[in-house]
Every structure is written in C-alpha cells, then in structure tokens.
Amino acid sequence: MDLIESYKEELRLVRRFWTGFWIISLLIALIFLPWYGKEHWVYILTLIFIFSIGVQGQNLLIGYTGQISFGQAGFLALGAFTFGHLARFGAPVLVSLLCAGLVAAVFGLLVGFPSLRLKGPYLAIATLGFGIAVYQVFVNSELLSGGRMGLTVQKLPALFGLSQVNTYYYFNLLLAALFTLASYNLISSFVGRAFIAIRDNDISAEAMGVNLTTYKLLAFAVSSFYTGIQGGLYALLLGYLEPNMFTFLETISLFVAVIVGGLASVEGSILGAAFVILVPHVFSDAKQLVPVVYGIAIILILIFEPLGLSGRWLKIRLYFRMWPFR
C-alpha cells in the first residue's frame, strides 16, 4: 500500500513513524502488563506468545511457500518430547530448546521430501499420515512417551525475584519477539522471496533460478523448527507431557490459526494465535462447541475474507486513511 522507491526502503521493517510508535507502545504495554494486569491474563498471553511461534512457522509453509501440511502435531510432539527428555538429562533450557527445534527440523526435511513430488491434496494426505503416525508411535512406545504417567519436565525456576508466572511471561515474550523479528527478516530476504515465488508459480520460479529442491526443503525445515520450538516451550510451561496432547486436533488448531489470522502475514499469525487461545477460553463452559466456532470461522473467512483478520485490518486502515472520502 506504500510507494516504495528503493531497495533499501523495501528491506526496512518499519516504514513509517507511526507504525514504529505503535509497535513500541505495544511492546511497552506488554512489558509492564504484569504490574497492572491480572495474573490470569498474564498466563493467557504467555500461551498466545508460545502459540504464535508455531503459527508463524505454519504460515511460512502454507501462506508463503504454498505447501500444505496437516502434520504439525507430529512436529509439535517431536519438539516437546525432545525437550522433555533432554531436560530430564539435565541439559540447560536453551540448549534443549534448540535441540527440540533441530529435531523437528530434521523430521521436517524428511517430510519435505514427498513435497518434491506431491502437490496440493496429495501432500495434505502424506503430511496427515506423518502427523498421526508420530502420535501413534508415541502412544505405543512407553520409552519415548515416558510411561503411563507421562513425562514430567522440570519447570523454569523463578528468576530475578519475579514470580514464576511472570518469569514464564517474560521468557516467552522475549522468544516470541525474537521469532517474529526473524520471520519478518526471513520473508523480506531472498529466501522469503524464493518461497513466495514457489507459491505463486513453481515452474516460473525454477526458470528464474530458484532451486526448488533446496527452498521447498528449507521451507519445511524452517516451519518445523518453529513448531518444534513451540512444542518445547509448551512442555516447559506445562511441566508435564503425554502423547494425548498432540492429536490431530492440535494440527487443526494451528491450521485454523493460520487461516483465521490470514495467509502470508506475520501479524496475522499472531492474531490467529490469539484467536485459537481465546476461543476455548471464552467457551470454557461449553467446550464441545469450540470446534464448531473454529469450523464456522474457517468457512466464513474462506468465503467472505480470504485474507483473514490481517486482510480485514488492512482494509480498515485503508478506509480510515481516506476517511471521510472513499
């Protein structure tokens, strides 16, 4: 929507003063939230931060590269259990978090190989098969899943004189901010452009010199790295893991978050993550209706607003910029 005059300007993350102003004020509001917000809200926001990392990863794959994946729960489980087992052996939190991401990324590469031959619906089935196969392996193997009682994970200690909830809040805020920054930088770099070129037309992308094999695999690896990190953070937050947390429903909620938030939009991913965390919270009295809300949201958004919440946001901004003329 802005006129971009130079390449340098294109690479800038914040183009106008007011955008920067609002981002900084939002960050300041988030940093001081534990002082004025209820502890309950701090916890909910922590969940949103964790989720937004995975949703961004999924969006890099679906929204930017145009490769569908229904196997996110598998990567989530791999990340979470890698984290859990490493934490049990006493590895430092950041190291095991990195390993969680890396293990998920390696499996992402493996799953990415079919994507070189399969398109659209076929890829959806292959990844769906992967997600459920991982779940069933964890269900059936007590060695991996930590036995019948589940796997307990050492929780984060309270640091710097903060309460434990607040420690988690700041830790996850920091990581979510880092990953958001990384996604913005990734999509405005040549890698992101290659992803978008593959999404728009893979044959012409190849003709322009984009190596399809490399970039498709890279998209899968990056996406599952994000999801693995989400899994690790989730394990750290809950302090307890069992395979039943990673059913097909988990894949669906990541997927719903991407669709509702808006395909190919990082801000949209965060909005989508907030949506899938807040809906079960609002409908806590009638939990069975949560999938109904998800389903209706998907259908309405695909029919009326294919760009999701971020598309709606863009339209509102455009409307008010011209207001009262249109």
Partner: protein, 294 residues
C-alpha cells in the same frame, strides 16, 4: 495355516467397510477434485441419528434408512450452501478442501454437544459373538459376515449405478470434463450434489456397521476415515475399483500385521502405506491420472 486364514477372513470383513469409506471419498474426489475431510463426521452424525432412533425402540428397519438419508441430505446441503457460494467467489482447490475441514469441525462439535462424549455401545441386530465355521477351525462372526456382505453389495450397486444408468453416465461425464458436460446440457450441479449425497450415504452405511465393533463416541469414525483415506490412496484416488481393492488389501494387511507382528502398531500401518504409496506410485494401484511432476 488356519490361523493365517482366520486373520485374512477378519481382515476382509473390516476391509469391506474400509472400501465403503474409500468409495465415498473417491466418488467425491474424482468428480470435484476435493478431498472430503468431513466424510467421517457426516458418517458419525448419521450413525448417532440411527443410535437415537434405536434407543427410542424403533426397529432397525425403521432406524437405518432415515439415518442414511440424513447423511446424504447433510452432504447435499453442504454442497449447495457452502461449496457453491465458495466456488462462485473463485475459491481455490485448497480452499475448498479447507472448507470440508471446517464442515468436519462443525459436525464433530455438534455431535459432542448433543450426544455427549461418553462412549456408548451401539445396539445392533447382528451379534458379534455368534459365529459360523468357514473352513476347519476358521470362524466368522455374524457381524463380520454382515459387514462383508454389505461392503460387497454396496460396491456392486455403486458399480451398476455408475456404469449402467443414465445418472452414472452423467456422473462419469462430469468427472471427465466439467465444461464439456455443461455444454452438452448435463445439469452438473444436480449431478455433483447427487455424488456428494451418494458418497455420504456410503459413509453412513459403513459407520453403522463399524459402530457395533467400536464404541460409539463423537470421534469413532476418525480412524476408519483415515483408513478409508489410506485405502483410497492405495487404490488410486480417482479409481472406484481401486478403492474397493485398496480397502480389502488394507484390511487384510492390517489384520495380518496385527496378528503376526505386533498389535500395538496395527493402526500405524495405514499411514505407512499412505506415505510409501505416495512416494513410489502416487497414482495408486489402479489409478490412471497422470500426476503432475514438480
């Protein structure tokens, strides 16, 4: 040897039901290129409706037909109310698949809301304890025999419908080339909605026969649905005979794997089949479609 036969027989009967599920998926895929992720949930709704009628002391002759029709009507409503408006707004193929995911979520939630998530046992006219001897000490239960029969009869009826009737001809024409069929005056929307209805009908039929073996809860069709998916992929996503063959092969393979290898990984086999088939021969055993190579 008789143990092997026993596994094969029980595999065939469950495979016949997978074939029914797979047929419904293939019927929709080959006419509209949509993978119907709501297939299992439509079947769940139909089965729960039959369950309600049965528990109000209706006989099964009174309970099953309305359930089958309810499933078919649901699928047709989805086609007319959601898919057609989406197509008018130029929804992509992937978008349409995601719409069926939405349908699946809505139905799943509504079933859980109205019928509860407690597993219930499904009263069924055929018992699974009464058995017949097939050969030496190989036995088949009444329920398995019924499932095998309904799978084969359903497949045969579908075969005649598609190959020998005017409606079947129209369905084949629509799946072959949609614009050409429209030009020739075939009412494509009506034909496609009938395909959706027929597919859901088969799904509910499979659901009713699967319910007595599994316990009835809102997610009971998830696994058979995924197995049906695997069967459809194995046979070829656009081949109806392939779906039948795929279902039977998957059923037998699964039963043998459960018997000889390990029961724990019996269910994982279907997904390994999916991934291996897609990697080696994406068009499936009997499919002919040329897969676009990337």
């Amino acid at each position: 040897m008789s143990q092997f036969l026993q596994y094969a027989v029980s595999g065939l009967s469950i495979g016949a039901l997978y074939s029914l599920v797979a047929l419904g998926l293939v019927l929709i895929y080959r006419s509209t290129r949509i993978l119907n992720f709501g297939h299992g949930d439509i079947a769940t709704v139909g089965t729960f409706f039959a369950f309600t009628l049965l528990s109000h002391n209706y006989s099964w002759q009174m309970a099953f037909p309305p359930a089958l029709i309810l499933g078919a009507v649901l699928a047709m409503i989805f086609y007319f109310v959601i898919l057609i408006p989406a197509q008018r707004r130029n929804a992509t193929q992937l978008g349409q698949i995601i719409l069926t995911v939405g349908l699946s979520l809505i139905l799943q939630g509504l079933v859980a809301y109205f019928w509860g998530t407690e597993p219930q046992s499904f009263p069924f006219p055929l018992s699974d304890t009464k058995t017949w001897k097939v050969y030496k000490d190989v036995v088949i239960s009444e329920l398995s025999l019924g499932a095998l029969a309904i799978g084969l009869v359903g497949s045969l009826i579908l075969f005649f419908l598609v190959q020998k009737t005017r409606l079947g001809l129209a369905m084949r024409a629509v799946s072959e080339n949609l614009p050409a069929a429209q030009t020739l005056g075939i009412p494509t929307r009506r034909v496609l909605s009938l395909s959706w209805g027929l597919a859901a009908f088969l799904g509910v039929l499979a659901g009713i026969f699967l319910a007595p073996a599994l316990l009835l809860d809102p997610f009971f069709m998830l696994e058979p649905f995924l197995k049906g998916f695997a069967a459809a992929v194995l046979g070829g996503l656009n081949s109806l005979p392939g779906a039948i063959a795929g279902g039977l092969i998957l059923g037998v393979a699964e039963s043998l794997a459960g018997g000889y290898v390990t029961v724990a990984f019996k269910n994982t086999l279907a997904f390994i089949v999916i991934i291996v088939v897609l990697l080696i021969r994406p068009e499936g055993l009997l499919g002919k479609e040329f897969i676009e190579r990337v």
